[in-house]
């Protein structure tokens, strides 16, 4: 037997492991930087990037590298939490919609309603309703990202219902719960997992946007949205590093998750099994 060469699956697995390691490092590094990100040093104000301060310092002399790392770790943690919760809502509503016609009508009205208000505006409204801050962002992002995944899951289950083996299981005396757990859930699980990971980029981008607008995390938190909105005042002075590094690393973070989700999608696709 020849040693199997590196196929798409092995590459995907290694890439996924690398990306997860990166996230772990960001989170750990961020928690170490939590204090340093807030310390101001008036002897080193507005330093451009250099050896002492990799990403420079802001107008209070705070180290931008620590602030960026801390901001990214906040983004990762919030993004994972909210994406998972949103995917959970999508799973429940998708299953409900596939149960009966009336429930389907209710769920699709809810989908239309959520998608009918511009996403940012809806986030602003929800954030207002719960009094801004961390709670506002978490709840807002959680309850607005489920529609597309709920639609996918609903379609998948409706298709599954027509399968002969479901009819056979019914005839064999399996109850609706048994069918749901033994036959439906394993089939929608791949969609659910990839959908959840692909929700993450949206969740992170919306979290930072809403924070940028002033409805999200409070100004003491070095979240990426806060860092960027604060940087606006100092851009005119030419302090480019305040905006460029934090934003670029946010983009890299989002791209990594997007890649992870897409390769997982290919991973679960049976037709592409041997690629």
């Amino acid at each position: 037997m020849r040693k199997p060469s590196w196929n798409q699956r092995a590459k995907t697995l290694w890439a996924a492991a690398g990306i997860l390691l990166f996230f772990l490092l960001v989170v750990i590094g961020g928690s170490f930087c939590a204090k340093r990100a807030l310390v101001s040093d008036f002897s080193a104000v507005n330093c451009p990037p250099g050896r002492a301060h990799l990403f420079g310092t802001d107008w209070l002399g705070r180290d931008m590298f620590s602030r960026t790392l801390r901001g990214l770790s906040i983004s990762v943690l919030l993004g994972i939490g909210t994406a998972a919760a949103s995917a959970g809502i999508a799973l429940i509503l998708g299953i409900l919609a596939a149960m009966s016609k009336r429930l389907d009508a209710i769920v699709s009205y809810l989908i239309d309603l959520v998608m009918g208000i511009p996403h940012i505006l809806l986030l602003v409204l929800i954030s207002l309703a719960v009094g801004r801050g961390l709670k506002g962002v978490v709840i807002g992002v959680m309850v607005t990202h489920w529609p597309s995944l709920a639609r996918v899951i609903r379609g998948e289950i409706l298709q599954l219902k027509e399968q002969p083996y479901i009819a056979a299981a019914k005839k064999l005396g399996k109850g609706p719960w048994g069918i749901a757990v033994c036959h439906m859930l394993p089939n929608v699980l791949p969609q659910f997992l990839t959908g959840m990971i692909l929700l993450f980029p949206h969740a992170v981008l919306h979290e930072s946007s809403i924070t940028f607008l002033g409805f999200g995390l409070s100004a003491e938190q070095p979240a990426i949205g806060i860092i960027l909105s604060e940087s606006m005042k100092y851009l005119i002075l030419g302090n480019w590093w305040l905006a460029v590094f934090p934003g670029a690393f946010l983009v890299i973070l989002v791209l990594m998750f997007q890649y992870l989700g897409e390769s997982l999608q290919r991973f679960f696709d049976p037709a592409g099994f041997h690629r």
């Binding site: 409204l125 309703a129 930072s208 946007s209 791209l255």
Partner: protein, 342 residues
Amino acid sequence: MKKKNHGKNTSGKKRIVLFLGKNVLHAILLIAGVSVVTFFLVIQSPIDPLSANVGQAALGAMSEAQLEQLKEYWGVDTPAFTRFLHWAGDFLRGDMGVSLLYRRAVSDVIGEKLVNSLLLMVTAWVTSGLLGFVLGVIAGANTGKWQDKLIKGYAVLTASTPAYWIGLLLLLVFGVWLQLFPVGLGVPIGVASEEVTMLKRLHHAVLPALALSITGASSVILHTREKLAEVMECDYMLYARARGEKKTQMIMGHGIRNILLPAMTLQFASIGEIFGGSVLIEEVFSYPGLGQAAVSAGLGSDIPLLMGITVISALLIFAGNMTANILYGVIDPRIRRGGQRL
């Protein structure tokens, strides 16, 4: 055969009326839902409009009577349900109330800001649509080659980039370093509003519109690319190649016809995203549009204005979706026929 066709046509007209009626009903239900949800979200807010707008220090210095007056102005003590009924009744009569922050009729404020925003949004919508479609066609016709990789990379990158960060970068490069464009505001400071020429106004709108167009194109690119790549694999494309058609001929004759419709639908459905992007971009460039008004209304608990903007934007989104639905029937004869059969 002829008779049958005739019968189909009359029922077709009925179908169109039915189709429109259904859409209008749907719109009414949706807008009603949107306004109820919006109102109760805003009412729910624990943020005190008085301390948010007047400031704690000023409030402490006021007399009881003044406080009462303020409370009445911001509607603090009126029950939520009554306020909603008042609002809805006035709205149906065409009165959207008075903006608490601007102290003008909401419809006036929205009208003025909407014109500014539309300048941005329409430009971005058209450019991102056209650019996205052309780039998507180029990528889809050359799948796997460097053009495709470059364009796909651009689309994936911009999809993962927050719109406001692109705005900040543009501001930095063109506003601060090259000083080609002004750094903020819709019009120059210190110039009377009558003296602001259309040219100046456009000059101030270039960067925001560019930022919006850059981020808006990615979904059209990815979608068009995918569809065209699919179409290129079809049997009729193989046949066209066997007949000796050139690649451009194949794409112009068979490719574009098959992918134009879904791309247009997508573009019409993306109005909500363009609106969301404009909220962020307007904030970056301090551009006096609807998005900025929405943000200040939100931060200042200006409920009538926030309600008005939400309902108007929901209407815009709905109009976009409905136009897409209608276009499907108008452009594609197959769907028209299919709709009659149903």
